[in-house]
Symmetry: C2
Subunit: 346 residues, 2 copies
Amino acid sequence: MVRKTTIVPVNRSLLPQIKAIIDNKTKPLGALGQLEDTATTLALVQQSLQPAIHAPHILVFAADHGVARSGVSAYPQSVTWQMVMNFLAGGAAINVFANQHNVALKIIDVGVNHIFEAHPLLEDAKIAMGTHNFYDRAAMTREQLHEAFHVGREQVEKAIGAGSNTIGFGEMGIANTSSAALIMSYCLNLPIADCTGRGTGLNDQQVQNKIALLGTVKKQRGPLHSSDDILQHVGGFEIAAMASAMRYAASRQLTILIDGFICTAAYLCVYREHPDIADYVIFCHQSQEKGHQQLLETLKAKPLLALNLRLGEGTGCALVIPMLYSAVNFFNTMASFEGANVDGAS
Amino acid sequence: MVRKTTIVPVNRSLLPQIKAIIDNKTKPLGALGQLEDTATTLALVQQSLQPAIHAPHILVFAADHGVARSGVSAYPQSVTWQMVMNFLAGGAAINVFANQHNVALKIIDVGVNHIFEAHPLLEDAKIAMGTHNFYDRAAMTREQLHEAFHVGREQVEKAIGAGSNTIGFGEMGIANTSSAALIMSYCLNLPIADCTGRGTGLNDQQVQNKIALLGTVKKQRGPLHSSDDILQHVGGFEIAAMASAMRYAASRQLTILIDGFICTAAYLCVYREHPDIADYVIFCHQSQEKGHQQLLETLKAKPLLALNLRLGEGTGCALVIPMLYSAVNFFNTMASFEGANVDGAS
């Protein structure tokens, strides 16, 4: 996908110095666990021995899914636009956590089935009033896919313009766990049942129906190989935009925060074609949604949090923000054994 | 232990209202996972539908252990006082995280083998220059145990005087995983090998030596039943003070934050005699230290974090502070379905 830009692996020449700094802090070796890994990632991505989080952003891409009309979600499609209105009014979970941690929040309408009035938090990048129902036909045209890619790059460019070096990604789109389940199933060659969960709260019978429907989609569609084909046929505008945004963010050497199941599915589309993106990524939350754990294992990812959230919106990214500051703060300000005159291990 | 004060279960009459508030927030039912549990705990402990975190404190109890002379730690005993100096100078991990989250930090010398000069962060409550080596004899006298209990209560009283309704507990004491392992083994009737880990970084052979030594202690000491007997014989001053502080904090209906393995061992001493303390507790971090996971399972506790920390100092409590604010913030300020005109599940 978008082969014009390239993702280079981070330059690891600083790694010995980074490790020496961490190991000389006044604590047993390795005792800060995943915070040490996080500090290492930030220092390598930033190519700095004084890493810092600048103007963290969370970009929430929102779009509707034609497949919602097939009854794969516990909530009606109208909830997508209603939740966007809730984001704009400041009433959603992501607003609460973004405000708490002083994170810049942008809501990007890539294809919600509703016309919104202009609002400072809202980016109008609507491609259509939602995707086609992929039960009947491809979710979007190739042109629409490229439009979604363009939106993703553009939004990252804007965040960079606002001074950001750290971007979290979130999404809103009723029925988008169906899209994410198909993406996972295609990319990893797994049975659809292994990738399909309760979404916002389906019961057992409804999950079975969802699996049956998605299985039919896969059978009708036949094999899909490239990430572009998969995104075009069974993706969503918000998922395609996220994938492109992540890819572009890595090419610009920003730190990328990955939220839950849908966000990870978008990441997977990029990762399988550009595995070096992994150098730029911090996984934030392991979701309750079935499939996410296996997806994370495939990616060898251990998120910083596992709070049983299943909300999307970038909430996992927002909750991780203070831990990023903890990582840079210990790296930059904690005393060394020599500086504090503390004896080392015998 | 300290049977004079009582711990009452929280009054659950507010529970239906708390649940209604959470379930009406604009999110799928249960979608905020452990943050919903945390908000519920805070609201019940505070008996309030507008819970708030006031003047959070972290009390780090520090003391030396005679058993350190038997070579059960990777670090020499001198590290206890050197790390206390590091706390006072602001250079340790707990300083970094407490500063980041605006948490009041107190270092309480209950028995460090060093004379400190007065310092604003330091509470001088020294009982002795460390415990006796419990390989040879009881770690402390009954009088010293009661002194440690008194210190714990007194420090909680001071935090309450400073307006705190939320107290985290941490510790510093070279060799105190040995003490915690014996406490766990006695309280839960488990083989010492199941309770003994690497502490600050023992290798396999050193862990075997530690297990052998602690097994000998258990054999020589014979059965110990009450928490007071266990703490007196194989505890430490900082562990006894923490246990008493937790117990008193629960009796005063504060929220109690539990850090890692040693802190949980102190809690276990109280819990087995006053199980209602569980109503007041938020478990912060699941440690890498062997035994902690089993200890948490016994207590049916699922900490908010599992970052592979193995540091103590109350660092897990400090890292959880922003999540406590996230819990009260969503509870108090997130929009309801009705308020935001968002449709519910079908």
